[in-house]
């Protein structure tokens, strides 16, 4: 290889052998550097995605009673599974329930995250380190464990809340699994587990802001509250937008919390309460991986659209804010 290059260089007139000699490296090396990422991206993203799309175009065809050898065949159905999903009212109800859950969860969680981040960032706050860790700690608890803990606290005869209410007011009528209350009960688990992470993102953004701005504001007579509201929050807007998008995606994907509550009260939270629970139910309980695949693709597309909508909405607000 090197010999050919030297010969070529000599043929070219020998004026620039060094440059010629080095030229193949930049052409090949970048591709080599891309290999790990490309291989991983293909193996863990593109291939499963392609396989899911393929499965979503198949269905089972059954001969007779469907018992015995060869009674069940996998056949192509085109968009048949998608038509099924679009007409499945249970699926769309699960999407609505997830969105309703998000409407409760996201404002409360992000509001608290921003509040805690601003408090921790403000001057003269004691127990900063402790506060940061204490608020972040629930995020380190796996959501499944957190959900089981909260579920136990909701169940009437083992719930500390119910027993406290009973001692104080003599009532046992607190029902955490009521038709409407259950949204708050589940959103509460999400807030408990998610606030810490979002607070960390916002807090990190706040720490990276230049201190001179605050100094200037103080000289101009701003109090801590005004600094927080008029300077800090507008300046960390990109981080707020990012947490909003992450939270929206997490909302549509919510599974662990409602699934755990489902195992404790199937009457309050059905087996198809959220979209992912519906997909799980149809794929495993219903043994229909084809319908489950079509639902997964529909949810992925929905998630993509909602993320874009959130991005657009928050961007417009950002621009609106700047023009004032």
């Amino acid at each position: 290889m090197a010999a050919t290059e030297v010969v070529e260089a000599a043929r070219a007139g020998g004026t620039a052998p060094r440059r010629r000699r080095w030229s193949p490296a930049p052409r090949r090396t970048p591709y080599a550097f891309m290999v790990p990422a490309t291989v991983l991206f293909t193996a863990v993203f593109l291939v499963p995605l392609g396989y899911t799309v393929y499965l979503s175009t198949q269905k089972t065809q059954i001969q007779g009673l469907g018992l015995g050898r060869g009674a069940r065949r996998q056949v192509f159905t085109g968009f048949g599974d998608y038509t099924g999903v679009l007409h499945d009212s249970e699926f769309w109800h699960s999407v609505l329930r997830a969105l309703l859950y998000g409407c409760v969860l996201i404002p409360v969680m992000l509001g608290l995250a921003a509040l805690f981040a601003l408090i921790l960032d403000a001057q003269r706050v004691r127990f900063q380190r402790f506060g940061r860790i204490a608020i972040f700690l629930p995020y380190a608890v796996p959501t499944l464990i957190g959900s089981i803990l909260w579920g136990m606290m909701y169940l009437p005869s083992v719930s500390p809340f119910v027993s406290v209410m009973h001692t104080l007011f003599g009532t046992t009528s607190v029902n955490f699994f009521g038709a409407h209350a259950v949204y708050l009960s589940i959103a509460n688990i999400g807030v408990w587990g998610g606030t810490g992470f979002n607070m960390m993102v916002l807090y990190t953004a706040l720490r990276s802001l230049p201190q001179e701005v605050y100094e200037a504001a103080r000289i101009d007579g701003s109090g801590e509250f005004q600094i927080a509201w008029r300077i800090k929050l507008p300046m960390i807007r990109p981080s707020v937008i990012m947490t909003a998008i992450f939270s929206t995606i997490a909302t549509l994907q919510v599974f662990n919390e409602p699934y755990t509550i489902h195992t404790m009260s199937a009457g309050a939270v059905s087996s198809t309460w959220t979209p992912l629970m519906t997909i799980y139910h149809d794929t495993y309980t219903g043994d229909d991986v084809f319908a489950g695949s079509a639902e997964s693709i529909v949810i992925a597309v929905l998630m993509f659209l909602v993320s874009i909508a959130v991005l657009r909405l928050t961007n417009r607000q950002t621009f609106g804010g700047e023009s004032q």
Partner: protein, 436 residues
């Protein structure tokens, strides 16, 4: 320098490939096929307690057929795992399968027909159970392991305290439940019995319901049948009156009520003593078993809740050796004795039912005739008929009846919802269903 850089990037690429390969290759691999005299390795999934000890006893006696055991969490969890690994063709050689899940497994073609290896065992099992493993065909999809007839379990100490007798009929159950709770608002005769699909289907079997039946090439779904409606409206009325408690079964809440004496009785199958040990640990020795209350005085009919067979999967390369292990486990006295003593299983094998290993479980220690009774109920159990999507029915049942019990709502509407969901699921999956 150039060479070393190329080497480094290639190494990175290789490492990434290895990583990706490592991610994608999981799960067990099927053993390679071998000749008749070579050592055979088999894999086995089951949720029977202490099955590892039973398998160890087999392995010691059979050096040529070694079984590796993996414990599953329970029937539902194992079925989900089986259905998933069946698609990947990585099922174990042998699996415990609940009777009601056999049609699901067979319709996916995941079970092997072992009829030619288990010729001699037919007469050792009651007809009702044998029909469940043949699905009424000429094939045999497993050997029955345990029978699970329903019975009435009650707290002897509390029944004495409140001056009650085990109800002989459902009418008596209803009046006892109402009177007890009116006089003593902190206790109940029992739970709703309608938050677990397996229990409810057993209660409807007693009333004569057939949830699935097949005729020619089409299925009929009888979940919303007159017999089931009778059972549903009976329990719906009890819940509405507040005569029984409406907690969801198998929650911490419910276990506590069973443990602290809030419930005086529990309708369950003969496996109840083993389950009470984990759900209501403080009540050992305080329970007794009586016959399930009857719809008509003098009848002797019961239903079943659960029970399972051991099957050879379609992925097994050694069905003959696997069938040999299953026969030993569920038919030969060494296996069934271990199942009873170590696994707390109530055996399906008729020979084992009168075997020597049957010692009265500690939770019903006062009842010396426990196994005589159990054998009687086992004979009285109505034949169950299952369809290809029982798990869908049970899941729809938990949702609909869970809500009806919690809100003290309409039990008949809930039953209609279950029927409708099951028929819709079967049609989506391509089954022919007659009627609605």
């Amino acid at each position: 320098m150039k060479l070393s850089r190329a080497v480094t990037t290639a190494a990175c690429g290789l490492a990434a490939l290895a990583l990706a390969a490592g991610c994608s290759s999981s799960g067990g691999s099927a053993p390679a096929s071998s000749g008749a005299n070579q050592k055979v390795d088999l894999t086995f999934w089951s949720w029977v307690p202490n099955m590892d000890r039973i398998v160890a006893a087999w392995n010691q006696a059979h050096p040529d057929i070694q079984v590796t055991f993996t414990k599953a969490a329970g029937g539902d969890a194992e079925l989900t795992k089986l259905l998933t690994s069946g698609k990947a063709k990585t099922m174990p050689d042998i699996a415990q399968v609940e009777y009601q899940s056999l049609p699901t497994m067979v319709s996916n073609n995941y079970l092997a027909d072992i009829s030619k290896y288990v010729d001699g065992v037919r007469s050792d099992y009651p007809d009702g159970l044998w029909n469940q493993v043949t699905l009424g065909t000429g094939a045999v999809y497993g050997v029955p392991q345990d029978a699970a007839p329903l019975a009435f379990f009650y707290r002897t100490d509390l029944f004495k305290k409140y001056n009650l007798t085990p109800p002989a009929t459902w009418a008596q159950y209803q009046s006892e439940a109402g009177q007890l709770h009116r006089a003593n608002p902190s206790v109940y005769l029992g739970d709703t019995a309608t938050t677990d699909g397996g229990l409810f289907s057993g209660l409807t079997q007693q009333a004569g319901a057939k949830w699935w039946s097949a005729k020619g090439d089409s299925w009929t779904v009888g979940i919303d049948s007159p017999a089931s409606r009778k059972v549903a409206s009976y329990w719906g009325a009890l819940v509405k009156q507040g005569a029984v408690d409406n907690k969801t079964a198998w929650t911490a809440d419910w276990s506590k009520a069973l443990d602290n004496g809030t419930y005086l009785s529990w309708i369950a199958a003969v496996w109840a003593p083993g389950t009470l040990a984990s759900e209501a640990a403080d009540t050992s020795g305080k329970w007794a078993m009586a016959a399930l209350p009857q719809w008509n005085a003098g009848d002797q009919v019961t239903g079943s809740w659960g029970g399972s067979a051991t099957s050879v999967t379609a992925d097994s390369k050694h069905p003959q050796q696997a069938a040999q292990f299953i026969t030993w486990l569920n038919h030969e006295s060494q296996g069934t004795d271990l199942l009873v003593t170590d696994g707390s299983v109530y055996p399906a094998s008729l020979a084992a039912e009168s075997g020597s290993a049957l010692a009265v479980p500690s939770f019903v220690s006062g009842q010396s005739d426990f196994y005589t009774q159990a054998k009687q109920y086992s004979k009285e159990a109505a034949t169950a008929t299952w369809g290809p999507d029982v798990n869908v029915a049970y899941s729809a049942f938990s949702d609909a009846f869970g809500a009806a019990a919690t809100n003290k709502g309409d039990f008949l509407a809930a039953l209609a919802t279950v029927q409708q969901k099951v028929v819709a699921d079967m049609r989506t999956n391509g089954f022919t269903v007659s009627g609605g």
